[in-house]
Symmetry: C2
Subunit: 241 residues, 2 copies
């Protein structure tokens, strides 16, 4: 890692799923508890893993078929869920059940260090989401979890999913900053490669339990990132907060 | 005023200039103090009033000439300023001076009740800006003034200025809510008429000193608004916070 001058950084844009919130642990717990109350049985862990597995292919479909218009992530989550439920032994779901499950992505819980680190960083920097989640999802999540964002930036605003360049450059444009004054923070090396190629600063925070036993990458930085931090408290310290 | 069921309201969208912040008092004080430090003379009150006077015409130009692309409010403010400075006895401004003055709109101060009321409302509702200010302006203002927005929605996101319908309907869409679950809050009756026509709920909060001695309207509600409140504390009380 080369030493970078970080004094130009004015805003930090955060990947959310996996970087700020523990989507897998949250959804498995949420659906398991809900199913017990509803008297439903199913392989909830398997469903959650397959649901997230459908995430990248569903965004690729949007990317490959621009003539179909931009579809927000809530819509993709619902589509994937309907395809998957039969495969995991779940049946008898009502419309309300499907809506509740889809909104599970709005109820994700932060990693233990997320709120403390963000609160420190917010004193010195603008802190924004830059997520493939739609605006309503990210806002509901922030209200539910107490995430102290200054503002919510989303793929939905650009009608492009990360890692399309329109997302990173669109975020810098809306922030009124050149890309070099914006730092992308993610637990995913591919997100940072895309941001760095466009001139953004980069910070890697590993979340090695994000995918549970299925985790097969992002255990360590694989690029020349400006900051590598153990967690958000360490990130705040390394950013001078 | 007919009694309205407000229990459906989930989010409140706030006009900002005049409704949340005292643009006139802030800018006159800011520029007067800055000019004294810089050793510049000029009619700062006259300039500020004329600058705001150029606001609606400058947005009308964007509306009438969509082929020119959307121009963000920072850009319009800078254009208007360059046109006006000569008329108010100001000369010898550097590029840095013009930039500082234009960014005066990012440094506006809230009315005394704004932060307290918003903080109460935020506990129960999503609170968002819905302003003709661009995103960077609104974010910088929020950081500077301590405005506790959940999210920043701006004409810039829709590439349409209020009162174009795209702004109100775009805000509801991004919030993931039907228009009837979003309440527009403004000190300006025309903003509320446009919002109400599209199905949004409405709240009027008079700011009768907004334009100083030039104020010639919006002393009182002129529509059938769902809520009329004396200030943001009263608004919070009337919204059950």
């Amino acid at each position: 890692m080369t030493a970078t001058d970080l004094s130009s950084v004015k805003a930090m844009a955060f990947d959310v799923f996996g970087t700020v919130v523990d989507w897998r642990g949250s959804l498995i717990a949420d659906l398991t508890q809900w199913a017990a109350r509803r008297g439903l049985s199913g392989d909830w862990t398997g469903l959650v893993d397959a649901w997230r597995g459908a995430y990248v292919p569903s965004m690729d479909e949007v990317r490959r078929h621009p003539e179909g218009g931009y579809l927000a992530l809530d819509h993709l989550h619902r589509q994937s869920l309907e395809t998957l439920i039969g495969r995991f032994g779940v049946s008898g779901l009502s419309e309300d059940d499907l809506a509740y499950m889809t909104l599970g992505w709005h109820r994700l819980r932060p990693w233990p260090d997320s709120i403390g680190g963000l609160t420190r960083l917010k004193r010195k920097y603008t802190i924004a989401t830059l997520s493939n989640g739609n605006v309503a999802l990210l806002n509901n999540m922030a209200k539910h979890a107490g995430l102290p964002w200054d503002l919510i930036l989303s793929a939905e605003l650009f009608e492009h999913y990360k890692p399309d360049p329109e997302t990173y450059l669109g975020a810098a444009r809306l922030l009124g900053l050149p890309p070099g004054q914006v730092m992308m923070v993610a637990a995913h090396n591919n997100d940072l490669h895309a941001a760095q190629d466009l001139g953004l600063k980069t910070a890697f925070v590993p979340r090695v339990t994000e995918y549970g036993p299925l985790q097969n990458k992002d255990f360590a930085p694989d690029g020349d990132w400006d900051v590598v931090a153990a967690d958000f408290d360490d990130l705040a310290a390394k950013m001078g907060c």
